[in-house]
Symmetry: D2
């Protein structure tokens, strides 16, 4: 920690701060600047409580933490990438992982038709919501367990892994029975009760970045899951909320590269929610492959115009096929780069 | 709904849209503009699904909802203010309601000392977290049920009502046993599983606006609670997340006035989280009274420098006393205006 | 400055950083933490260049400036408030200053009718744009010099001071001939060519905060004007751009209090642009007085429905009169507080 | 335009709105909804003034423009891409255009060394600031005309085109004498005096998106330049300001794809300012090529640690060489796609 004192702090006030720091078991390094005193804090202890206590003292201008507040999820903790093996597929490894499917599970016909199509086109995971977080209480809330059963059926028929959302700590055991990966939606990224429960879920978790969550907060939420016992966390950039309204959200694509620098966890890009518009999904998928995401999660539907949710951002199965075709040379470059990194490291 | 077609939409494409609209049971009013066709949709039906379906059609430029997506919480539904009576105090009525207390319940001594002080100074509710949403899994997470018991004790001794946070649908029955008002934190404003459970909680709810939630989304979340059976919802503006870092959040004070126009629900301002800085709390309290909030919720602590959380934004009990004193003439003006409104209405 | 090295920085890399710091004439205080080395930099020199140079070095995690980057505009430079006397009125002193008028100067009749009305109701300055910054090249761009002449005529008839916008360094001499205060619009807050020219304009300047400018950047832009020779700068909070669309901008009202802490310059609130909606202007004016702004700038028009710009946020003259009446007791409290501060200081 | 009336609008109020619309020369199509009346406005006229007038009327809920507010820059105006030929290079055509160079022109040695290096590696334009927009008045403001002369010398020696910033309408003639492309910085994107002057500058213009400017506003600013006589405008996405602080700005990469849909103007991506961090520039360049930008503008420097500005985001010349090498296969895919599009169209 580095503590900056206010310009006119007296000797007594500075001493009080130093004493408080020592109370927490830290050592003090005081630097007398031209204008003000800055205090370096060295040692190990309860950083947050100490920081908050110092910030509350008069004549403290500000108190800044130097060490990263997360450790398990940090690259400093594990230098290489984490590879999470799910349903026979390595996520975070040498394989570019495509996840695809409808926004909501609507019917057996819809989900099976989609599953067969995306499996044939190279996807490894089927997405589809059985519990739907909807802004309005009057909108379709999902088929719930009936939807989970349909996802299981699709898995049995196609071999695809299943990724689906869980919205409450109460539902974790049930969803974990059906799903290969538990998806946490953007609005629940800081639902700490849910995060703690996921630590014991026994299934990998994909954590979507909150609409206004910083990259650091995303990593802290991942740290919650890992610290509570579950190391298999996948991160997902899905766009953040900004002033721009031309797209549903603003895709913070650089976050993929930043997360790759800061963390060893796999990173998936969701271009469907990031843009909210079908025509923008293929170009953003190309960008996601090129920047080095470990995979993509894409919404598609046999008949987007009849979808019960998110039709405007869903590709038809034909559009998905075209896109997969177009992506192949980019994925080939991605694999070359992955192999090259592995050799260098 | 109003549907704008793209510039080069053909007659066939326009007809397909009109047919889809009629499939949903609506009537169609087509307007041929100089440049493009715009279609007015009239009737009642499943607005969201229809809207999403139309947005997914080719040659639809955009589809805009005209009617408000909420009804129970709207001023159009109930023209006057809702008054919610809790522990003998009217919230939303002719009384300006002060809620105060520490960020976290830490000990019996701390909470009782605070409760006696704020009760004496005119507060009607004691705030204090027993379940704490913390960004880091390594930070103090609250005393949980032991904290709730201390809050009950403080209520018994001082007569103050108790407002405290509930973080999971699982915990609602327990917290509802101790609290007079269930507080929903900003990060849970769109925790829909929790919102649904609150509909049956049997206690009033204070819903804090999410960090990046629009005013409309706040009202939709309130609508969830009401639609699930609980009409006693209080709204709380506590600052939103923006690019500005001089304050912890950006207090959207105009939201208080906007909410008063759009909704009949009471509106409370939280200047402590809105600013994150003790010295800014008193000026923001004055502004909150002047703009017409129904009350304030303010953090204070017997010894902010030793607080386990949010010390930097907590007033000392002496500072709280000074502020209450300073606020009196503003509250007197507030009451005049309230009475005047009642007479006019 | 405080420089944090990366976790695995070698001794050689740390030494290289220290050497670079000394090259800039600073002294080095190295602190060996548990995890990493942090370097305190003490002395005076070219802070920005040094900081940027260090940030560009490998193994530097980050480099943070401790001292404020502005000085003339800082409270640390001048502890009391600056009082700027314009056309017989003290701005920043014991008088609450109301500025009012239409968005655009449209005609002699319009500007005179407005000027007489607002003068009678206690305003001291007439606002009105002769040069209009419009998003579209096809919108009304203002009457230019003809508009300035009408403002001068209104001043001659009513005694009001004139505040009007200047949009280009080229126009500064002309506008300075007619105006008492030169207004810089939000979109020009970082038009540095213009800011430099204002240093020599010989007239006070009101600097509106940019749509996405931080408080610190607003102060830095004020510092430009002062450093180039003009100490008479008035700051104006007019709302920032956020994700919220219920209001035209988001009024960062706490910025008024923050600016009062950081700077001695007067601070004016513009509730018209902050909200974009007529009905929100009076409540926001009350909040602005209560939080301690030095004045308000409000749009009003003899016939808002016929205004050539900003009609939706303009008060009619009758509405302005009602609002002025309603504000009186708040202004009385404001004066008490000002006098009290002066006695205490 | 579509006008929504408030719920309780009377017949008389609706008629008054219709009459106002007809006063502007438009035709009225009234739609009686279940809840409220919506009025379609058809015809051609002064849209903005009419819209603003209607918004200012009582009982108008809102007024929305349907037609795009720009025309010259719209894809609807010119369906294919605009190709702008500068110094023998086609921008917006079948060539992927690399622009590179230092943030600031610092010395003859620096600019020539950079120019030779980037020319050899395939760049077609040399960037370098002679007029520098700096937040602080105390920071290096650029070499001004001396810097322009050095850029001209670099052009004479290497054949590279020159792109450099102009900050004031006053400086346009001088900068236009030396530069092949006039760059408008983010902070000047809505400096309308400057935009108007650029209409007569006789040189192509690259317009950087403002920090908090929407895509629509960027297009409106481009429309200013075109409407004032200069059709040769290049758009540049350089990151927008959000709450995220891990990167200097947030790269809105989807904006590249959105601009390609809405406009025929060429679009360049600036990954250096978008991220502010050297290590993120190569991944973002790959993403920029993959998403279909027409080119990139990248900061590089012979010795970033000694750069007078932006060292932390500047690549060394060796790093730039490595990146160019790595980009080749992506650029090859880009060319295939361009040729394919041309064949399809």
């Amino acid at each position: 920690m580095i503590i900056s004192m206010k310009l006119h702090a007296t000797r007594g006030e500075i001493d009080a701060v130093c004493e408080r720091i020592r109370d927490f078991g830290y050592k003090v390094h005081s630097i007398e600047g031209e204008e003000r005193v800055v205090i370096g804090v060295v040692g190990t202890g309860d950083v947050t409580t100490c920081l908050e206590s110092l910030e509350a003292m008069p004549q403290v201008e500000n108190a800044v933490r130097i060490s990263a507040p997360y450790k398990f999820v940090s690259r400093e903790f594990r230098p290489g990438k984490s590879v999470i093996r799910v349903n026979g597929t390595d996520i975070g490894g040498d394989e570019f992982v495509m996840m695809a499917g409808p926004c909501s599970v609507e019917s057996e016909k819809q989900i099976l038709e989609t599953a067969y199509a995306v499996a044939r086109l190279g996807a490894k995971f089927l997405r589809g919501g059985a519990f739907k977080p909807r802004t309005s209480p009057y909108d379709f809330q999902g088929l719930e367990e009936a939807g989970l059963k349909l996802l299981r059926k699709a898995k049995q028929e196609t071999g695809l892994g299943v990724i689906t959302e869980v919205m409450s700590d109460r539902d974790v055991p049930m969803v974990a029975e059906y799903a290969d990966i538990l998806q946490i939606g953007a609005r629940n990224m800081q639902n700490f009760a849910l995060l703690k429960t996921l630590g014991k879920a026994g299934k990998p978790v994909m954590l979507k970045r909150g609409l206004s969550s910083t990259i650091k907060e995303l990593l802290m939420s991942a740290e919650y899951v890992v610290a509570h016992g579950n190391p298999n966390v996948i991160l997902c950039e899905r766009g953040i909320r900004t002033f721009e309204t031309a797209t549903r959200n603003t895709c913070d694509i650089a976050a993929v590269a930043v997360l790759n620098e800061l963390s060893h966890l796999p990173v998936i890009l969701d271009p469907s929610h990031a843009t909210g518009k079908r025509s923008l999904v293929p170009p953003l998928c190309r960008a996601g492959v090129a920047i080095g995401a470990d995979g993509l999660i894409v919404e598609c539907h046999p008949n987007p115009e009849k979808a019960m949710s998110d039709g405007a951002q869903s590709l038809s199965l034909q559009q998905f096929a075209n896109m997969m075709n177009e992506l192949q040379p980019y994925i080939a470059l991605w694999k070359q780069a992955r192999v090259h990194e592995a050799v260098v490291a």
